[in-house]
Each structure stands twice: as C-alpha cells, then as structure tokens.
C-alpha cells in the first residue's frame, strides 16, 4: 500500500495544533491523512477530537430558532412599500 506509506507521521503537539481545522475539514489532503493516521493510534488525541467535535455540534444546535410569526408580515410590508 503505497498510499499509507506516504502519510507523514505527526506527533501529538502537531495533531492538537491542527485539530480544529481537521474538524472543520479545512486541512489539505496530506495533512488530513496525517491527522487520521495519528487519531487511529492516539487515544488521548482521539478523545480530545471527540470533545471538540461534540462542542462544535452543540454550538450548531444552539443556533436553531424559528422566526417569530410577526416577522413574515413585517418583511412583506417592507417589500410592498419599497
């Protein structure tokens, strides 16, 4: 498997530094692969990653709030009067 041979080995320090960008899926392909490889073998970083991921999804869930019923009417009026 030449693919996995090409994956750069990284240490915890680098994994922690790149963790949020990994979760955001913003790392370049090779960095992403290095992270995955590290997380497969490092329980400590894996547990940190799970924590950060769960916190991120809690922040996401905190954002859902239905628009109040009167808003639609107000917006329609703005458009009509414009």
């Amino acid at each position: 498997m030449s693919m996995s041979d090409d994956v750069k080995i990284i240490q915890c320090e680098e994994a922690i530094r790149k963790m949020l960008e990994y979760i955001d899926e913003e790392l370049h392909q090779h960095d992403h692969a290095s992270m995955e490889k590290h997380l497969e073998s490092c329980r400590e970083c894996y547990s940190r990653m799970e924590f950060e991921q769960r916190l991120k999804s809690m922040v996401k869930d905190s954002g859902s709030e239905p628009a109040p019923p009167g808003l639609n009417k107000r917006i329609n009026k703005i458009i009509k009067d414009y």
Partner: protein, 224 residues
Amino acid sequence: MLIASQTPEYDRLDTPVATPLTMGSSKPKSSNRAYFEANIESCLGRLYGTALQLTRNPSDAEDLVADTVTRGLDKIDTLIDCNRFIYWLLRIMTNHFISECRKIEKRTGHESYVEEPENDEPFSLYERLHQPFLLWWGTPEQDFLNKTLTEDIRAAIETLPVNYRVVVVLSDIEGMSYQEIADTIDVPVGTVRSRLARGRSLLQKALWQHGKESNLIDQKKPGQ
C-alpha cells in the same frame, strides 16, 4: 459589486434556494426583484436564527432581518448568482451588523466590543477538564458537556467580541467554509482562521468561567 469576485470553487456549496437560476448582467433588473420577492420568505428562518445569534436579542434580531431586507432591495443589482441568494443576504446582514457595532463602540468607548486586544492566551476547555485529579471521577469532559445547556452556549457566544462572534456563528452555526466567511466579511482567509481559533478559545473560556460559577466543575480539588 457585492459578490462579483466569486470563483467557481463555491459551486460545491448548495443553498436552500428553490429555483436554480443564474442571472447574467443582460437580464432585466426587474427579474432580480421578482426572484427576491419569491424566495425571501424561505430564507427568513435562517436569517432570523443567525441574527439572533449575532444580536442575542429577539427584537434586535427582527430589526436586523428587516434592515437586511431593505438593504438587499437597495443593492438588488448586486445579486448576480441566485444560487447564492442566502449567502448574499447573510453577507449584507453581517456587514451591516459589524458596521452598526462599530458605531456603538465609537459612541460608548467600549474598546473590546468589536475587537479583543491581542494579548490573550489560547484557552482549551478540554485541557482544563482533562486533569488527573478530575479524572478520578470518570470522564470530566463528557460530564461537563452533558451538563452544559443550550442557554449556556448561547450566553457564552454573547460574551464574544463582535469580530469573533461573527466568524464563530458563520462557521459553527451556518456551516460556512473559511473561504466563504472570508468572502462574506471581506477579510483574508488567514484572518478568518486566526479569528476562529481565538473566538473558540474565548468561547471555551466563557464556558469554563460559567461552569465554575454554576458549580458544574468540582472546585474543592486543588488546581482550580
């Protein structure tokens, strides 16, 4: 032009706009207006949700959505790609919000309202919780999150200086990529990256402070 600098790489992102319709500059101006009127209603929930996260006040959030609609109508000619309608609206909204906040900052002299001074140490909630003396009791990180309420998260977002709040909301709630956030608020991607890192660090710090104040963390142990 508001979204004139778009490049094809954004095409991978889907928007909730119902009718895929790309408009060229040769189209009559009134078709933009018609598209706006036909689709604004389906965007209101998302606009309001974002506005509420930014302003943390239902009545301010409604005003922000209303201002966004008025400004959108003012700038209707800058709506180039209707597939990006919601992002075009979010861009108008966040920029209007930031500029209003800058006015408040100027008026009140409250310096860290929009921007936080740079001398702050990065803060990791995980590291604070994941300590040997706490680990005796199982998994303190998971326990902490189990006890954290939606209201706690919202209150923590509210404490963020505006520049950081905006990137956290656009990334973690709106699910935008770093490049999309950069295009939305007109800053380089590197700035988005650093503000997001800092914003999350401040958010975690606020959650930690709140956790200590509301006894979510056992403070009787050493090191607290």
